[in-house]
């Protein structure tokens, strides 16, 4: 009889352990790096504007932010109102806006958060596209934006929802990772 109780207790412990493991996995990989309450920024920036040119001397990417704070101990920079404008080789441009963002010192990745909006800038009048999500990682080197969060893509003729996305600026492709649902607006009968 006692042996059964021991087995039951072990099973319960294993179950709780698995549950915790599952919750840890759910934590988004890009949780906001915690800056300890009393850590002070070692430098502060205002109206930041950074430009990057390609080998041919053309403006390839620009980054703006209303404010910047750098925290040495946490090795992270925090931005408010970050805006990225990135241009593909064929001249097509994308603009990415958010309320906040951060970048780790040792990482070229920029994480944008809160009301993230991506829009195509110089596209024909009937072909603009806007993408909304909660957060995304922008990789300047590859000119890609990725997220695991839900995304909503609006286009004059379609509305698409999905979970998880990779936008590749260079080849103008957009991969939707899970649960894709697209609605095509009915064609007006000629």
């Amino acid at each position: 009889m006692r042996k059964q109780y021991v087995v039951l207790a072990l099973a319960l412990l294993a179950g709780i352990g698995l549950l915790n493991l599952d919750r840890v996995k759910e934590m988004p990989v890009t949780a906001t790096p915690v800056v300890s309450g009393n850590e002070e920024a070692d430098y502060y920036g205002d109206q930041l504007y950074q430009r990057q040119y390609n080998a041919a001397g053309q403006l390839e990417q620009s980054f703006r932010a209303a404010t910047l704070q750098h925290f040495p101990l946490s090795a992270v920079s925090h931005f408010t109102r970050p805006r990225i404008i990135t241009t593909a080789e064929d001249g097509k441009m994308w603009q990415i806006d958010a309320l906040t963002g951060e970048a780790l010192d040792q990482d070229e990745r920029l994480t944008l958060r809160e009301q993230v909006e991506i829009r195509s800038i110089n596209t024909p009048a009937d072909d603009p596209i806007t993408i909304h999500t909660d957060w995304l990682n922008y990789h300047a080197g590859q000119q890609t934006a990725t997220t695991d969060a839900p995304v909503v893509i609006r286009h004059p003729a379609t509305l698409t929802e999905a979970t998880g996305m990779t936008l590749n600026v260079a080849d103008r492709t957009l991969q939707l990772h899970h649960q894709v649902n697209t609605r095509y607006v009915p064609q007006a009968s000629e």
């Binding site: 072909d127 492709t173 939707l176 990772h177 894709v180 649902n181 697209t182 009915p186 064609q187």
Partner: protein, 169 residues
């Protein structure tokens, strides 16, 4: 139904890739396209759009399946094939590869079947390559029972070998 074509097209799938340069979207994994009573199920669906409007959707599967109610009161039209091209603007479906189309108890099988959803004209047959016999098609019309058949038998045009003539009756 006639009003199917004025309805929203909804496509659901596991994942997708949008190629804005080519104006092509490829949906993959358990893909379901619906538009009113029209329903196409497939493993992969390639949608070509022009100015954002869906021109053509190519469904591929083992097999890809199509179903639609053409007229109020008429039974569903079913079809399946390795590939189904749905031409939205022309309201046509082209079934390619082990194609089967069933309406009521009538059935047509062949390598290639073109189905006009408006006029319900079906063109079946496959252009024969030089020196080859054209692939055969098979048409089964159920004998008329005492009561009038619920759905008139579809008009089928069978092209003369070897060059298929998609002629209207």
């Amino acid at each position: 139904l006639p009003e199917d074509f004025n309805q929203e097209v909804v496509i659901v799938s596991d994942r997708a890739e949008i190629d804005r340069q080519a104006g092509v979207v490829i949906y993959q994994g358990d893909v379901l396209l619906t538009q009113g009573t029209l329903r196409i199920e497939s493993d992969r669906l390639t949608v070509v759009s022009t100015e954002g409007r869906m021109e053509k959707a190519t469904a591929e599967g083992q097999p890809a399946r199509y179903q639609q109610q053409i007229n109020p009161g008429s039974p569903l039209t079913h079809a399946h094939a390795q590939r189904i091209d749905y031409l939205a603007a022309n309201q046509e479906a082209i079934l390619i590869g082990n194609a089967v189309l069933r309406q009521d108890s009538n059935e047509i099988t062949g390598e290639r079947i073109r189905y006009d959803m408006n006029t319900e004209v079906i063109s079946a047959g496959q252009p024969a390559d030089a020196g080859e016999k054209p692939a055969r098609i098979k048409v089964i019309f159920q004998p008329k029972t005492a009561e009038p058949a619920t759905a008139p038998a579809p008009a089928v045009t069978v092209p003369d070998a070897p060059v298929p003539a998609e002629t209207q009756p």
